[in-house]
C-alpha cells in the first residue's frame, strides 16, 4: 500500500490538492489501530503521525492543544503528571485487533469518537473537542471552534469532526477540554444479577444522589468470576466519595445479590477491561450497539438465546455484542430497541459486504452525503471503506 506522510500543513494541502487533481483516494490514518474496521480497501494511506507533539498546555485553563498525530498514550501521561485527564476515557483499539498497544493517536480517537465508561457522566469525544485545525478535501487549511471552553461563535464544526471517521478533513491539530483527575474513586459491585436485574439496579443508582460516574455489567459466562458483576463507580473528593458509597449501599441493598466494595487495584483493572472490551476479546465478530439504557435488556433478550455473548457499559446504553448472526437481524433488533449497531470486528469477507455504520434513513443518508461533499467535493476521502450506497464510494 502506498503511503504519503506530510509533516507540514502546506505539504498536506499539496498532497490533498494533488489527489483531487488526479482523482486519487486517500484514507486518513494515525496509528492504524482501527484500520480493520470497515471494508478492507487498498488505497493510498495518508499518514498523519508527522503532526505530533504538544503545542499548548496550561493546566489552570483545563485546555490542551496537541498535534493530531500525537500518540494517545503520550497525551495521557502528560496529563497524568498534572493530575488531569481526558474525562471521556478514550482507549486504544490496537489490542482488540491483535496489534501492539500504544500506536493509537489522539486524532484517530477523536475522528472515531472513541470513549470509555466515563462517557456516561462526562460526555464523549464530541463534548471535549473544542477546536481543530485541518485540511479539507478542498485542499484548504481551516479551523473550527476555539481554544476556550465556552464558545458559540459560528457553527459547532468540531462536533461534526468528532466521529467523522476521516471523511471530511485531515485534522492536524486538536484542542481538548481536560479535567482534573478524581482524587478518590470507589467501585461498588453486586454479584449474581441477571441483565434485567442489573439494569434495574443501575437505573436506580443513576437516578440517586450517588452521582455515579460509570455503570457496567459483565455476565457470569464472561468474567473471571463465576457470577455476573454489576459495577458502579463513584469518584470525587475523599469525604464525598465515602458519603456517596454509603448512600449507594442503601440504594443497592434491595436488589439482591452479594454487595461489596471492590479493592482499588481490582477496580482499576475491571474498568480497563470493560473499556477495552477484554471479556469479548476472543470473538470473531463484535458489534457495538448504542441504545437508550432501557434498550440494552431488549437487545440481550432477543439475541442471547441465539448464542450472543455480551456486556453492558453506560448503564445499559452501550451493549458490546459478540455474535456471528445475520447483520440485518442484529440491526433490526438494535433499531427496535431505539438505537443502532456498528460492526467493529468481523472477518474480511463479512466486512466487504456489511457496512460498519448502521445505515441511516434515506433522507439522513442524503444529508450526510451532502455534508461530506461540503468538505470534500471530489470525494477524495471516500475510499469505499464505509460501503455507502448513496455515494457509491
Amino acid at each position: 500500500m502506498h503511503v504519503l506522510a506530510p509533516t507540514t500543513p502546506d505539504d498536506l494541502c499539496a498532497v490533498i490538492s494533488d489527489a483531487a487533481r488526479s482523482g486519487m483516494r486517500l484514507t486518513i490514518s494515525g496509528g492504524g489501530s482501527k484500520s480493520d474496521i470497515g471494508k478492507p480497501c487498498d488505497v493510498t494511506r495518508l499518514d498523519m503521525r508527522g503532526f505530533a507533539g504538544v503545542i499548548d498546555y496550561d493546566p489552570a485553563e483545563l485546555v490542551l492543544t496537541v498535534g493530531a498525530g500525537t500518540p494517545l498514550a503520550e497525551v495521557e501521561s502528560l496529563l497524568a503528571e498534572r493530575r488531569q485527564m481526558l474525562a471521556f476515557e478514550p482507549w486504544d483499539h490496537g489490542p482488540l485487533f491483535g496489534k501492539l498497544a500504544g500506536a493509537t493517536t489522539i486524532g484517530g480517537v477523536i475522528a472515531a469518537g472513541v470513549a470509555g465508561p466515563g462517557r456516561l457522566a462526562k460526555g464523549g469525544a464530541r463534548d471535549h473537542l473544542l477546536r481543530f485545525e485541518a485540511v479539507s478535501g478542498r485542499g484548504e487549511r481551516f479551523v473550527g471552534g476555539a481554544k476556550v471552553v465556552k464558545n458559540v461563535t459560528g457553527y459547532d464544526v468540531p462536533k461534526l469532526m468528532a466521529g467523522s471517521w476521516g471523511r471530511l478533513a485531515a485534522m492536524t491539530q486538536v484542542t481538548l477540554k481536560v479535567l482534573p483527575s478524581p482524587r478518590a474513586s470507589a467501585t461498588m459491585v453486586i454479584e449474581g444479577l441477571s441483565s434485567v436485574q442489573a439494569h434495574a439496579a443501575m437505573t436506580q443508582a443513576m437516578g440517586s444522589h450517588a452521582e455515579v460516574s460509570a455503570a457496567a455489567h459483565v455476565p457470569a459466562a464472561l468474567g473471571a468470576e463465576e457470577r455476573s458483576m454489576t459495577a458502579l463507580r463513584i469518584e470525587g473528593f475523599e469525604p464525598s466519595v465515602a458519603a456517596r458509597c454509603t448512600l449507594l449501599l442503601d440504594v443497592l441493598r434491595d436488589h439482591g445479590g452479594t454487595l461489596y466494595k471492590l479493592a482499588a487495584m481490582q477496580a482499576k483493572s475491571f474498568w480497563r477491561s470493560v473499556r477495552e472490551v477484554a471479556p469479548l476479546m476472543d470473538s470473531a465478530t463484535l458489534w457495538r450497539i448504542c441504545v437508550p439504557p432501557s434498550g440494552g435488556c431488549a437487545v440481550v433478550a432477543a439475541l442471547e438465546p441465539l448464542g450472543a455473548r455480551w456486556l453492558f457499559d453506560w448503564a445499559g446504553g452501550l451493549v458490546w455484542l459478540a455474535f456471528d448472526g445475520e447483520a440485518e437481524h442484529i440491526r433490526r433488533i438494535a433499531e427496535r430497541a431505539g438505537g443502532h449497531a456498528m460492526l467493529i470486528r468481523a472477518p474480511a469477507a463479512t466486512r466487504a459486504v456489511v457496512p460498519a455504520h448502521h445505515p441511516p434513513s434515506f433522507p439522513v443518508a442524503a444529508l450526510e452525503a451532502r455534508v461530506r461533499r461540503a468538505f470534500d467535493p471530489q470525494g477524495i476521502f471516500e475510499t469505499g471503506r464505509f460501503l455507502d450506497p448513496i455515494n457509491a464510494d
Binding site: D58, V149, G154
Partner: protein, 493 residues
Amino acid sequence: MPAPDAAILERRDEIVAALRGIVSGEGVISEPNELKPYESDGLTAYRQPPLVVVLPQTTAQVSAVLRWCQANGVKVVPRGSGTSLSGGALPLADAVLLGLSKLTRILDIDYADRIAVVQPGVTNLAITRAVEGAGFFYGPDPSSQIACSIGGNVAENAGGVHCLKYGLTTNNVLGVELVMMDGEIIRLGGRQLDPAGLDLLGVIVGSEGLLGVVTEVTVRILPRPETARAVLVGFPSVESAGRCVADVIAQGIIPAGMEMMDRPAVHAAEAFAKVGYPLDVEALMIVELDGPSAECDHLIEEVERIARANEAVMVRVSRNDAERLAFWAGRKAAFPAVGRISPDYYCMDGTIPRRRLPDVLKRIADMSTSYGLRVVNVFHAGDGNLHPMILYDANQPGELERTEAFGNDILRLCVEVGGVLTGEHGVGVEKRDLMPVMFSATDLSHQQQVKCAFDPDLLLNPGKVFPTLHRCAELGRVHVHRGELPFPELPRF
C-alpha cells in the same frame, strides 16, 4: 441587512393566503398592528416588522409552510420565545416569521432512561418544573429561563450560570426532530448517547436557525443535587479574584457556578437588590457548590481556604437556601440594576482564557476612559465568559455609535487574547460583521458549505451569522488553490 425583495413584498397577499391554507384561524398574523410584538427579539436596538407571522401547531404544518416557502422562493425566519440577545430572531421585511410558540407540549418523560421529549415551544424552566417532583432537573439554565424556549436554546446553544459543571445545551441534547427547508422531516440522534453516523445533531445545536427548524427535542435530565451552598467572597483587587478562580480550578474543584462582579457592578446590584453585598471591595465572587452535603461541606472549606490565601477581605458562606438565593439575587438582578443607573446599556458576551482576565479588565477600563463611556463588568468567571455592559444614553447624538465601536473593540480584544466573539449569546446580526476577526475567509467558506448542504437556496434565516452569504453554486464551484483560479477566463458573479 440585505435590501428587501420588492417582488416578494408585492406578493404579500398571495403569501398570506397560502399560509392561511396551511394554518387556519389566528395562526396567521398579517395586520400591521398585530405584527408589532414580533418586530424584535431581546436585542431591541434592531427592529423590523416581518412580512407575515405564522404560528403552526403541528410538525406537519411546519413542514407544509417550509415546503411552500421553498417552492415559492420565500425566506423564513424561525422564532422561539424571542429572547435572543444577538438578533437571531430579528424579522426581515420580505420573510415569513415562523413562530414555534404554539408547540408547547411535553411529549414524554422517562425517568429510567433519564430523558424528556418536548416540543420546541416548551420553556427551559418548564422542563425542570415537569421533572422536579421526581427529583430531577434540566442542566442548562440561561438567565431568561422563565421565558426562553428549548427550541431557541437548541438554536443558540444556550448556557447559563451552571454550565461550568453541567454543560451547555449541546452537551444535554440527545436528539431532535428537524424540518428541513424543503419540508423534509428527519430525526437526528435519539434517546441514546452516540449518533449512528455523522454528528449532524452537533452542528444543528448552535446553528442559529440557519439549518432547519427543530420541532421536537430530547434532552437528558439529571438527579437534582442533594444540597447546594454558596460562598460570597470579596477581594481588594480584580487580580486577586482572578488568581482565586485559577487556584480553585487548579485544585480540581469544578463548582456548579463561579460568578464575578467588578466594583461598579457590585454597587449597582446592591443599590437595586439590597442583598447586603460589601461596597468596599474591588471584585465580588459567588461560588456555588452542589452535591451531597459531605461534598459541599468539604469543598466550601477548600474554597474558603483558597480565597483567604488570595487576600480575600470577606468570606461569607450561605447557612441556608434562603441565604444562598440572596447571594444570587444581586447577581441575577445585575441587568435591571444597570438599567436603573443608566438610560441605556449594551451587553457584550466574549470569552477569554481565564488567565487573561486581569489584563483584559485593565484594557477595558482604559478603553472606557478613551471612549468616555462607563462600563460595568459581570462574568461567568469559571469559564472565562465576560459580560461587560457599556452604559450610554441613546438620546445623546453619537453615543450609540460610540458604544457599538467600544463594544466591537472589546470583542476584538477577546479574540486577540485567544478568546471568542460570543460565549453564549450567539452571533446573530449583532456580531455578524466581526466574524472575520476570528475566522479566515476559508474557515467561513467551510461553514457556509455546511449551510448549503442543509439549505442550498439560502432561504432560512438569511442575514444572520455570516458577514456575506455567498451563493452556494459560487462556493461550490470556485476552488482556489494557491491563488490560481481554475478556468480564469470565465466571468464570475
